[in-house]
Amino acid sequence: MKKGLYEADEAVIDGIRSGDDRALAYLYKLHFPMISHFILSNSGTEDEAKDIYQEGVIVFYEKVKSDNLELTCQIKTYLYSVCRRLWLKRLAEKGRFATKVEDAEHYLTLEDEVPQQEENEKRFDVMEAALNQIGEPCRSLLEDYYIRMQNMQDITDRFGYTNTDTAKNQKYKCLQRLKKLFFAAYQAPV
């Protein structure tokens, strides 16, 4: 990979927006040591560092993809701020409150973004729980159709349904169940 290509933040953002995995990989590798250091020096482990950092990168990635990115700071600062918030939240969940955070970087509170981020996280968690509950083959069926965007004929063949109508009917039933589970736990913001 040519490093010089993605040295500027704008280049990285453009790369991610156009779906270039090299930009993502470059970004990931560039800032991981910073977050790793932050989490390790604030009573975290290597695995937790990886987890938190990936969540942070995902937040950034989704922000770039949704095109509503108005970056007023460096990517580095943004990532650090997001990961910092996520880590403090994780610590609070573990029942451990960081009395003094050892900050290595300047960070932003990102107040106007936090509700949106938390909303996304909650929705993600609820969806994951719901998908885990509906069981197989419903889960694979829905994932294949709605996430992997496969056509009905392929799904019918693979799952061994007699025809596409049966498959469609099955999919409908699965979706109804998922809907029930999902909305039982999730209230869309008004």
């Binding site: 995902i58 996430i147 809907k179």
Partner: protein, 385 residues
């Protein structure tokens, strides 16, 4: 609408089932429509009709909203999962790149505690050196009092070597040059029949001893008695050429001399005889040693074993050493102890008693006159081994 009188009659049951089936079908139909609408598969006319229906039917609108949220969430979930997989792959490749330089535990530990350790190390260094320094400061005056006794025997090796080299060059004869002496000191005559005294440390470990005075007399001698405690050795000349000294000009003082008395010595700190004068500065010697005097005569290696005389020409002591780093603090064994070992001599050995001189011919003459008479009885003691 429904017959309620017989709720469990087969008839009403059938109707109920039909109704449920109808509702289910309606719902399925609605779901189909929503799916197609959201997927953008409706043709323009159908879409317009559906949108019009949405305007009038709030329940349908609500359903649509829910459906949209659900699908959106699911897609987002999928995207996140996919991204996770991608990031995990990146992480793995990153770890493989970094694998050769695995950070060992001690390095992590070091990084975490480097600052603390640096502070601790500097504090300990500071305290160690501070303590050393202050202890040294406290010790300094003590050190000045720590005295070192130096025996004044001269090492003459180098000097002699140079000399013999020259002799060899000039003569180039078959006769081997005399071996140079290793050490030298001073000694003086005790009796006319060839007894001398010198310091024990001068003749320590000697193979053979030669004595020589300024008038050129040169005799072979050997040690006949030694008193290690008082650092005194009695030598006897055993040379066929020796016929005896003339009458000794000095006598030995049996009593202790007084503080402040003028004293002098003759010795061989170099090749020629050297005179040194001073006064008796203490009636005790090195570290309170009562067997010796302290005298203020500048002495050098080679002076050991020399006679110490007072103004009247009485022999009052034998030069033995000086204090290192201290000017004018030299020491001489008191003559009383010399007389003591002379007395011991016939008891310890088979030798006949020494005939000590009884008359003093030095008293009353001037210092140069005294020295003229004296110098023939003071010898350089050369030690070979």
């Amino acid at each position: 609408m429904l017959p309620t009188r017989h709720p469990f009659s087969p008839e009403s049951e059938k109707i109920r089932l039909q109704q449920a089936k109808y509702i289910a079908e309606m719902e399925y139909l609605m779901y189909e429509q929503m799916e197609r609408y959201l997927a953008g598969k409706m043709v323009a006319e159908e879409k317009a009709a559906f949108e019009a229906l949405l305007q009038t039917d709030p329940r349908l609108a609500e359903q649509l909203k829910e459906h949209r949220t659900l699908l959106h969430s699911m897609q987002q979930y999928g995207q996140r999962q996919q991204l996770r997989t991608k990031l995990n792959a990146i992480h793995t490749s990153m770890e493989q790149e970094a694998a050769p330089k695995v950070i060992p535990m001690w390095q992590v530990f070091w990084k975490r505690h480097a600052q603390t350790m640096a502070v601790a190390a500097s504090v300990s260094l500071l305290s160690v050196f501070g303590t050393l320094w202050s202890v040294q400061q406290m010790k300094k005056p003590v050190q000045q009092q720590t005295a070192h006794y130096v025996e004044l025997r001269r090492e003459v090796d180098k000097l002699k070597k140079a000399q013999t080299a020259i002799i060899k060059d000039i003569n180039n004869t078959a006769k081997p040059a005399p071996r140079p002496a290793r050490f030298s000191g001073t000694g003086f005559a005790l009796s006319a029949n060839g007894y001398l005294v010198t310091s024990s440390h001068v003749v320590e470990g000697a193979d053979s001893i030669m004595i020589e005075n300024t008038s050129g007399a040169k005799y072979k001698a050997h040690e006949v008695y030694r008193d290690q405690a008082h650092d005194l050795s009695i030598l006897k000349i055993e040379d066929p050429a020796f016929t005896g000294f003339s009458k000794l000009p000095y006598t030995f003082k049996t009593t202790e001399s007084d503080l402040g008395e003028k004293v002098y010595t003759l010795g061989y700190p170099r090749e020629d005889v050297v005179f040194g004068e001073g006064s008796l500065s203490s009636t005790s010697g090195f570290q309170g040693d009562t067997t010796a005097y302290q005298i203020s005569i500048p002495l050098n290696p080679g002076n050991s074993g020399g006679p110490l005389l007072d103004d009247k020409g009485n022999l009052i002591g034998v030069i033995s050493g000086k204090q290192e780093g201290q000017d004018g603090a030299a020491f001489a064994i008191k003559s009383a102890y010399l007389l003591q070992i002379i007395g011991e001599l016939p008891l310890a050995t088979t030798l006949s008693p020494l005939l000590l001189p009884k008359t003093n011919t030095l008293a009353g003459s001037s210092r140069p006159q005294q020295l003229k008479k004296l110098k023939d009885f003071v010898f350089v003691v050369k030690v070979y081994n």
